[in-house]
Point group: C2
Chain length 199, copies 2
Amino acid sequence: MPANASLEELIEALRGLPSIGPKAAQRMAYHLLQRDRRGADRLARALDSALQNLHHCTHCNNFTEQAICERCLSTRRDPSQLCIVEMPIDLNSMEQTQAYNGLYYVLMGRLSPLDGIGPKELAFGRLITRATDGVVKEVILATNFTNEGEATAHYLSELLHARGIKVSRIARGLPVGGELEFSDAATVAQALRERRDFD
Amino acid sequence: MPANASLEELIEALRGLPSIGPKAAQRMAYHLLQRDRRGADRLARALDSALQNLHHCTHCNNFTEQAICERCLSTRRDPSQLCIVEMPIDLNSMEQTQAYNGLYYVLMGRLSPLDGIGPKELAFGRLITRATDGVVKEVILATNFTNEGEATAHYLSELLHARGIKVSRIARGLPVGGELEFSDAATVAQALRERRDFD
Ligand SMILES: [Zn+2]
Ligand SMILES: [Zn+2]
């Protein structure tokens, strides 16, 4: 094989992207070089700019270009509610509901001992400081209902309860439009356990 | 939504990669920023280096850092055979067979009128010049057996035949270890039509 160091390095670097295998990395490299050199240059510039400009909001831990992000600075949001999500993408899901007007804290992950991600890696200390500022009255745990998301919620609820903070968890149940016939048993059981007064 | 221009630009630039949708682009951006900033920087450098250093071999049209690539310069390859493939990845497949010792020409695509890719975009003129150098005795068409790859092979065979060049096409048929029962009818029919004397 001929020595094309820069081609091989590009393919290797693309393989570092999540869920990109060797074949996909090759296709991407050839596509960029042959069909989209402007796109390749744009991506390089975007990576540089993102690495240089983005950091974590000191209030909510989400990515921002400011010291404190616009959402945290907004006077139109209710600072007494603090919703904890795993990732920015989850925050977007919550915002799309237009059903929540409080503030957020983004963990940037979940407890995952097998991946070496514990309370220290997720900087739970900063979260506790944020939640005990005297303004927050309720912390809403909105981590995912995966094993890791559930473990994270339990761990956090203990930390927060110990400091006398009111903690809630978003509900599990059937999806909107969901039918019992087509729901898995665990979800139906959960919907039964978490039933509410019908008013 | 807060204005995070550099984050939005990174997500947009990642969406430009082939077969990456908006959700995957978001996940990639967050992964790079949160878990792999070194990988993000490596990718930016690799893109820059590849754009700067890689161009097309004047002989085979493959990507190379030299004017003429090492394979084309090799004295151990048979210059009387010229195998035409669509993409570098196809060249790699041919090389892995260790059954071919001639030279290559990489089209960097296939005829695809719907995508605006015609003979001009694929620079068939350069290929004809290459194939009529007086040294090449046989052109082996190894484009894929897709509709577009077949159309490309037919188009090229006419161009080359018109210039008195011997043209062959790699065979279709059952795969090695293939069983009729589990092969689609078109492949079996093709294997029948392309049957060879059994010696
Ligand atoms: Zn913030
Ligand atoms: Zn070459």
